[in-house]
Amino acid sequence: MSDLTRTVTVDRERLVAYAAASGDQNPIHQDADVARRVGLPDVIAHGMWTMGAALEVVTDYVGGDPARILSCQTRFTGMVVVPEGETVEVLVTGVVKKVDEAAGTQTVELSATCAGEKVLGRCQAVVRLPGTQA
């Protein structure tokens, strides 16, 4: 069991790595000129990067076995703007919203904020805790 609070960081280099690993090569996540041309303030992180990074607190919570995360979902409610040369912080906090003892599952709700703005909404994961069977 671990604390469900963490600050994760992102910079341009990490977005390039995420683009390669995920296959999402949309240039708004790498090229400031393209991002500004479509009306964005600067390069923004992939929403899916933020979701993936936030869920790491849940993997820790279930003891490091990713298979204990049965489902997860989120809405994307804000942007993580990543200026050149900066390291941007995203604050992730989680709470256990529901315990289903019959099913052996818990629902963890995550919140993620960047520069005071909520970037993930209704972000939830249903997990099976260690010591419980399917």
Binding site: Y18, G23, D24, L55, G64, P66, S71, C72, Q73, F76
Partner: protein
């Protein structure tokens, strides 16, 4: 250009197969900062009861996106990718994805309509293994911002 509402309910032929490798899983874990040894160390994964290293919980987006490309790149769908904003994403894991999996994905268009001047598109990708057993269901909603 509005999205084409006639595409709602459409399903595409299965895409893939996608070979899942240890290298892909480790690279994805590194990029999202997923620290569990289960993503990288086959022995650690086996100690948890898995056949091989296990995917991070959102890894399936990589495969789903390849399936979704069939719709996004379909000129008849009317999706201007430069105006797309990601609205929602969800994963239901019927079983964990591990290295060595050979998965195929079937794309379903669940919603496709104009609302308030924007296009709303909800898709679902059903990923199955080489035996046809359900592995992951990936749901995604995108908004195609209207002009003006």
């Amino acid at each position: 250009m509005p999205v084409n509402p006639d595409y709602a309910g459409r399903a595409y032929p299965p895409a893939g197969p996608f070979e899942v490798t240890r290298e892909q899983l480790a690279a994805f874990a590194d990029a999202v900062g997923a620290g569990s040894p289960a993503h990288r160390d086959p022995e650690a994964a086996r100690a948890m009861g898995h056949a091989d290293v296990v995917a991070p919980p959102t890894f399936a987006v990589r495969l789903a996106q390849e399936c979704e490309a069939q719709l996004v790149e379909d000129p008849g769908a009317g999706i201007d990718f430069s105006r797309v904003v990601h609205g929602q994403e969800g994963f239901v894991h019927h079983r964990p994805i591990t290295a060595g999996d050979r998965l195929t994905g079937t794309l379903h268009v669940d919603t496709m309509r104009e609302a308030g001047g924007h296009g709303m598109v909800s898709t679902r990708v059903e990923l199955v293994d080489a035996e046809g057993a359900a592995v992951t269901t990936v749901t995604s909603t995108i908004v195609v911002r209207g002009e003006g």
